[in-house]
Symmetry: C2
Subunit: 351 residues, 2 copies
DNA sequence: TCTACCACTCAAAGCGATTTGAATCACGAA
DNA sequence: TTCGTGATTCAAATCGCTTTGAGTGGTAGA
């Protein structure tokens, strides 16, 4: 069988076909100004008709650009290879689809990230990187900066002074508002089921929670604060334990819809009713397949589309390729508080 | 600021450093036999010490291999860019991590797949493709075969005679067994909430369900059969409607854990108890963050890890690159039936 | 008429690897 | 001593693009 390679048209073939030089054809296709409009037209038409596509590897070698951005996904840290990942990727790819830019997914062990980065850089595999799930002193920022690899951080690292690009949502503000709202409703014993303690986003949420409590003269009960992975199981176990305490919490903050599902079950298991006996506000990354609005009772949420964040990140990376300095890319997105049926006035104190 | 490019060591530099030709260095690094062991040792040591990495773009151009496999993710068909996606990708990358092979994620509109394929092929972007979510007469198989692009189908296309590689789970057998078990428990009115009707996996499940019913002399009630997207919302709506029918179903088959969550809520909303009043078996792709075992009541499932499938698919693709003929790659995985608390004997007939 | 300039187009030199075909060396056989 | 041979190593061609620097021909101004 004839390899398909034989059938593939190269720049040389196309140029020969047209009776033009490769230079002119290349320039015509890449939109350079010094080529006659009529010629350009003729070239594009022929390229289309003959199905010519530039070999990206040759192109990348010649230009020195990789034509790809890398998205690193932590393999060990079970955190972000969850349902978030696909939505986030989906957002990125949505924005990049119209450009000829590949998305290279690179799994990465939390242990030895730097060697992987080094490999990505020196092999010229990607032009830029998206990294996620930062810790406060995230070492990846220094590593990538030193390696000269452009990157955009999804989230924030608190204690890093090196200038770098980031996009984050206002986790602190979101949980501050959510907590304040619960307090307004009369809740005093509020439990919080946060994410992994080492992650900045969880730290920020914790900060927002505590600040809101303290602003009203309330002391957060350390017995009612938990963290960990965003699984239904973790939500269930923590909530079940919290509901056995005295005084019993009348409201929950949940870090994700997954944990919220677990909390929900724990509330029911305890014979309580969500929305009346116990209130809950969960953080919603907006999964199309798990709609807070359609739950029964519908779930009050702090909402921010992780898909939209992915799309915006792709856009910012494109701008950075065009020269926008990384140090000027700082976006802090506000988070909506969407009130639904899972939040209600605190029941009369019993304990 | 000095570009990082200046710092990157090229083959030429490394060869000069060693006082060897590029040829020898290249061969030493790529494990060719005609190089002295001592020399090879010296070369590898220097490469390691100086942090040399081959520029993949040059490598790809020279060898004609892309060093990447493409994973197409449907953008329109909301189906597979769900929580499955990240697990599946995770499985693929897990297996590929040790090789120097990239995973290129390519979003793709269900409408115009062929142009995208054509682009992938002629631009030499990937060596092989993974395609998912087939329909019975899936046109992509013919398209990719004609283009000469190796691919592996995750799932099966029923009516396609062109030989091709696939890996699928035994959806028909799984639902046959699940249905038979429910019948054994005394259930007669069994509702089924399937996936999107055009997908083969959903068709196979339907077939298994019907066959099992008929084998016991039961006629599936068309009023109790529904399909659609794998969302909690869809599960909830369908289940709610089904529960209002007479006779009321005493058991449910759910196509995914997401729909199962919706069915679960509908059952509760109707004031019924899962596991006693109503039974349910759901299909579980094994999401680490949504564990059937930890639900209350724990969920009986037909279980097959989509992550494991991803890992195996990556492995098979590697073998295909080595020459294993696509027509010999056919794997049909059995599906476990895991019985837990959500299934119980049918309640006494009331209607 | 001559020169300058503009608008195009081209041949050839990279990009950084792999690979072909030839050269070198040491050594035992003739 | 000479030659063939196997074990190594090398120079140069190649992969398919982009880009540099050098022509073209034609038109307008002096």
């Amino acid at each position: 069988m004839l390899g398909v390679h034989e059938l593939i048209m190269k720049l040389k073939d196309l140029a020969a076909e047209l009776g033009l030089s490769q230079t002119t054809v290349s320039r015509a296709l890449n939109g350079y100004p010094e080529v006659n409009e009529a010629t350009r037209e003729r070239v594009s038409e022929a390229a289309r008709r003959l199905g010519y596509r530039a070999n990206v590897n040759a192109q990348r070698l010649a230009t020195g650009r990789a034509g790809a951005i890398g998205v690193t996904l932590p393999l060990q840290r079970s955190l972000h290879f969850g349902p978030h990942t696909s939505e986030f990727l989906s957002g990125i790819s949505e924005r990049l689809a119209q450009y000829d830019i590949d998305i290279v997914v690179t799994p990465i062990d939390a242990d030895d990230e730097v060697p992987v980065f080094r490999r990505l850089v020196s092999s010229k595999r990607v032009d830029a990187l998206v990294i996620s799930a930062p810790t406060p002193n995230d070492a990846r920022i220094a590593a990538l900066t030193e390696l000269g690899m452009p990157f955009l951080l999804h989230g924030r690292a608190d204690n890093v002074t090196i200038p770098h690009a980031w996009l984050d949502i206002d986790n602190e503000g979101a949980f501050h508002r959510a907590t304040s709202h619960l307090i307004d409703l009369g809740h005093r014993h509020i439990a919080m089921i946060n994410g992994p303690e080492d992650q900045t986003f969880a730290i920020h949420r914790d900060r927002g929670f505590r600040a809101a409590m303290q602003a009203r003269g309330l002391t957060p009960d350390p017995q009612l604060i938990g963290g960990g992975r965003f699984t239904d199981e973790n939500g269930f176990r923590l909530a079940q334990a919290f509901l056995e305490r005295t005084p019993r919490p009348t409201a929950f903050l949940a870090g994700s819809m997954m944990t919220a599902l677990g909390v929900f079950r724990a509330i029911r298991s305890a014979g309580l009713e969500l929305g009346s006996d116990v209130s809950m506000i969960a953080h919603d990354d907006v999964f199309p397949y798990l709609n807070a609005d359609n739950m029964v009772p519908s779930m009050s949420t702090t909402r921010s589309s992780i898909r939209a964040a992915g799309a915006r990140i792709a856009e910012l990376l494109l701008q950075m390729q065009e020269g926008k300095p990384a140090s000027s890319v700082h976006e802090l997105w506000p988070v909506e508080l969407v009130l639904r049926e899972s939040t209600g006035p605190a029941p009369r104190q019993s304990g």
